[in-house]
Symmetry: none
Subunit: 204 residues, 4 copies
DNA sequence: GATGAATGAGTCTTCATTCAT
DNA sequence: AATGAATGAAGACTCATTCAT
């Protein structure tokens, strides 16, 4: 009896989401028609609606999987017992994003901008994204504390403020990469390093 | 046909763009219909098409005026002969954005995300935005040079890399403010300060 | 300025309803597609939606106008100060229906069945129809009272019960005419007469 | 392929028809989707198509069984050697319908309206229904003849005309019951009685 | 015999744009 | 210049039916 297995079902869902992201990143989320996604997925109209109730649900699922994948990519770096030094941390994190973008055919930077924009007029999407960003913020704050303890940066500043600054850095790198061309991880690292380090022996 | 004066014409165009932004920021650029803009502008369908050829041109004009207004807002700070110190600079710049948002009823952060997203699938929009961001990047790099010269930050780093980092900071603040709630300018300033001053307020 | 007059607007609405009824009576209410109505009305899709929000509203408006027209047709007979005798009453009432059907190209009998059926699964439609039928029932009861007073029928029976019987008669004539071919008004009259006059033409 | 027994086959067909009528009476014949019927019948899509070629055939079979059941219900009354008196006849006949409706969960009145409506745009359905109604008409005419012979009603009227009137009565009771709420059999009987009987010894 | 995933033509509806007035 | 009724192509979604298993 052709009742599909859970794995097959999940595979179909992924196939559809993958097609959706290909289309979204080409033409924008809302400018993409269901027909385009259907064609890209090599399915029939009815089949897609068998797996997602409608366009809204599909968009939300697409955003959700984007969040999960990105998180899976970055978590190892964020949760390291002994975090990289600030510059190395920036280099490794941006490297991860770049390499993911090159393995898959999806530019994570481009996708991020679309997703953030969608969230501005889609409250369910905003909830998902805000939750994820809050976690990143907390994790970055924890890293900042370790940097302060280890002397990578000055100990005086409030970790939460500095954590926000670090989050801004990364979010901004994404924007800048999408708008002006990929920033190379080394440049990114040097940029932070240039701000942080080496006040020429201060008073001296 | 009573030809309208240039001033009147410009006023009408602004009236339409203003209506467009109100709608865009509520529902997203592509989810907004011409009819909504037309109603918001208190005009007739025909009238709008007298001033803009179509929706695409209207979107582009809306993006263009957004770029101009933001630039007019920030330029004084960027071009100061003697720039503010890094922390003060961040505070003043983010203050400008917040205050503009409060004077008008448009959240510049929200609008920025929408505009960036649109640019990912609209090459004319991308050109406009990329050009503007490149200018910001250069101007920030110039500011960085002055900081290095003045000893606000260490002199060793490449100004272009540090300029990119600063641009990332600001872009990221916009994203973070739109997604997680407005970041207060003082917090933003403290965040940068906490990174930079790598020794406990040695020189001050 | 091409703002349409109220008369023109009403004319368009009627044009659409008339087209709708042509299609409905050919293929059934639900089997009729909006496209068919649109073509029959010689309009564009958009135009129809300018006058009716959607198919449901159009169906309801079609039912509503059917009720009004039928009522306008029958009211003079129902409200006569001195009603016709039972047989004449039946003859005149059924004549009205037949003649209306022949002037217009719509078979009121067919339409009635469709409308009643629709009401069984459409509560808004049912409200409208039930209200109209209740009025008919009351008016027929009033006529029955006059018949009893005048001696056209025996005075003993409860007017409300007999009113219901009369309503059944007319509703049933509609059904029978639609299903088995139009019953001629004289036959209808003779049928009632044959039941009522329980003694062989005693008085008349 | 294990061929199923004829009994089993018939049971399946009935199961499907029963499910179909449940759905039809809830949502209307055409508004009901095959999927709804399939779910209501606790079968698979393929199974239903094993027993009925398509929706049209299913509708026709549903109408056909409705005709048969109703006929089986009413025939004993219609064919009595010595028919009930007019009032009793009406009471017993409407009682039968009411009681059937209460035993099963299907309102015969509602179903009747739907079936008649369907017939207006479905010639095969119309043939079936017209044939059945013609039989009823003939049988009622025969009853009328007996009434005249027995003196229940005046002997002068043409039995065929009076038979039509009686058919109208019953059809109309169905309509009225569906639209305005079940008419109680006693009221129905009294209504007819009030028309027929007891001219207060007028001329005589 | 039975299943239910898949199909794709067809449905209702929207919306950018035009044009007679 | 300005209006807004009208257009019709395109959109999201449904559903009767089929067929590989």
């Amino acid at each position: 009896m052709p009742k599909i297995s859970d794995d097959q079902r999940q595979a179909r869902r992924d196939q559809i989401l993958s097609a959706a992201w290909k289309c979204f990143s080409r033409r924008g989320i809302h400018a993409t028609s269901m027909e385009e996604i259907i064609r890209e997925a090599n399915l029939s109209a009815g089949a897609v609606y068998l797996y997602y109730k409608g366009k809204d649900e599909l968009i939300l699922a697409a955003i959700s999987i984007y969040i999960q994948e990105l998180r899976a990519l970055l978590l190892p770096l964020l949760l390291r017992e002994e975090p990289f030094s600030p510059a190395a941390f920036v280099r490794e994190l941006t490297k991860s994003i770049v390499s993911h973008t090159q393995r898959n055919d999806l530019d994570l930077n481009v996708v991020a901008l679309m997703v953030w924009s969608e969230a501005q007029s889609n409250s369910r999407a905003k909830e998902l994204l805000a939750a994820a960003q809050l976690k990143y913020r907390d994790e970055l704050t924890a890293v900042v504390r370790k940097w302060q303890k280890r002397g990578d940066i000055a100990p005086g500043g409030k970790p939460t403020s500095i954590g926000r600054a670090m989050l801004s850095f990364f979010l901004g790198f994404i924007v800048q990469s999408a708008m002006l061309g990929q920033i190379d991880p080394d440049t990114a690292a040097k940029g932070i390093e240039g701000l942080i380090s080496n006040r020429p022996l201060s008073g001296g």
